[in-house]
């Protein structure tokens, strides 16, 4: 779904007199609730990243300060994916700190995790630079080939 379509939808709902609308497809879940002041947009991305939600046009009564809050927008983030099947480890050793945590800045070439398979330990390097926004897999969990492991905000 494109940003323009979301904006149009919000405009339409704002002017419709409906208090709350929920739309759910395989690709996304969109929930719009209109309070007396302004609509709030809450969007959760499922299998695809949600596009940037453009600032919707507020209803006639809204004040400029009451701009809608965008809960989560993952479109501008880049995924670091697993290059192999194995077990995901966030730390170099069981008793040490994680390679990276949410909020950390990573640079291209930096190790972000270890994936172990049959006693072979693979230090996985980030291809991108940016800030870690989310760690998508728990420590010591099995991962599949191409499974997203981290979300990185390239803007940082």
């Amino acid at each position: 779904m494109k940003a323009k379509e979301i904006q149009d939808l919000i405009d339409f709902i704002s002017n419709s007199g409906l208090a709350e609308v929920k739309i759910e497809t395989d690709e996304f879940k969109l929930s719009i609730k209109k309070y007396s002041e302004a609509p709030t947009v809450k969007m959760e991305s499922a299998t695809i990243a949600a596009p940037a939600a453009a600032a919707p046009t507020p209803p006639v009564l809204a004040t400029p300060a009451a701009a809608p809050a965008v809960k989560e927008d993952t479109s501008k983030y880049i995924e670091i994916k697993s290059p192999m099947i194995g077990t995901f480890y966030r730390t170099p050793n069981p008793d040490t700190d994680p390679f990276v945590s949410v909020g950390d800045t990573v640079s291209a070439g930096q190790t972000v995790c270890i994936i172990e398979a049959m006693k072979l330990f693979n230090e996985i390097e980030s291809e991108v630079s940016g800030k870690i926004v989310k760690v998508l897999v728990d420590n010591a969990q099995p991962v599949e080939y191409d499974q997203p492991l981290f979300l990185v905000d390239p803007v940082g």
Partner: protein
């Protein structure tokens, strides 16, 4: 210092000797990152203070008694899904050299160097640097108990404990290096099936009934490994079971 070790093409031509270090794999990694070393380089130490087995397991080594070193390879020709081939060539090469000196040497899956009766003689710890293009570098850490007296230990042994005499560590190192290079080149040439065959011939408990624990104790027989290196064990009722590392324990 130690001169060129072996009659090899590229392996061991650049040797970094450290009288003491925490872990040769860690030093090798730092030196790769600072571009001091590259494919073929070896980092070796006489005293490894914080030797590592896998993920935190300690590997204790008495100074100047054993062989502890790491070598650097660039197996860019391997897909990340094929990296078990590294376990195969390294454990095969080392176990063949050990067998020149000692009887009863086996490879305990996936890559332990093992004496049939006396237990572990050494270990291999392979760490790869991986990016989206594949394996960039492979650091092969090898630790072997040579002249350390380990007769008191129940599940480990050494050259000294098995033979009652001291051995020339550099001689053993030379042989290992040239054999690893030989098999590495063979792997690069795509000769995987023969290497797998040699590996299986040396696999501890292959085709023998023995007891194992995969959450439950059972009697089984090792049949081999699959492509990704999982261990295949046949249970008494005839089922074939595939195990990843640490998913099954040998009870012996």
């Amino acid at each position: 210092m130690y001169k060129i070790l072996a009659n090899t093409l590229f392996l061991g031509k650049d040797i970094h000797f450290l009288t003491e270090c925490h872990s040769t794999n860690d030093v090798a990694l730092e030196k790769i990152r600072s571009k001091e070393i590259t494919e073929g380089s070896i980092v070796i130490t006489d005293s490894q203070i914080r030797g590592r087995g896998q993920r935190g397991n300690r590997w204790w080594s008495e100074p100047r008694k054993n062989l502890t070193f790491s070598l650097v390879l660039q197996p860019y020709f391997l897909d990340t899904s094929e990296q078990f081939e590294l376990n195969i060539i390294i454990s095969l090469a080392v176990s063949e050299v050990l067998s020149d000196y000692l009887h009863g040497i086996k490879i305990k899956w996936p890559n332990d160097l093992f004496h049939e009766e006396k237990g572990k003689l050494g270990g291999i710890l392979i760490e790869n640097l991986v990016n989206q293009r594949g394996i960039e570098f492979s650091i092969i850490g090898i630790g072997l108990n040579i002249n350390q007296d380990m007769r008191e230990l129940p599940k480990a042994s050494s050259f000294f404990s098995l033979t009652g005499m001291e051995w020339d560590r550099w001689e053993i190192l030379k042989l290992i290096i040239s054999k690893i290079e030989k098999y590495y080149i063979k792997l690069k040439n795509g000769d995987k099936s023969e290497l797998r065959k040699f590996y299986l011939e040396r696999l501890y408990k292959l085709e023998q009934w023995s007891s194992y624990d995969d959450g439950e104790v059972f009697i089984g027989k090792i049949k081999g490994i699959n492509k990704e290196g999982k261990l295949i064990i046949e249970k008494t009722e005839g089922s074939l079971n595939y195990y990843g590392h640490k998913e099954v324990k040998y009870l012996f």
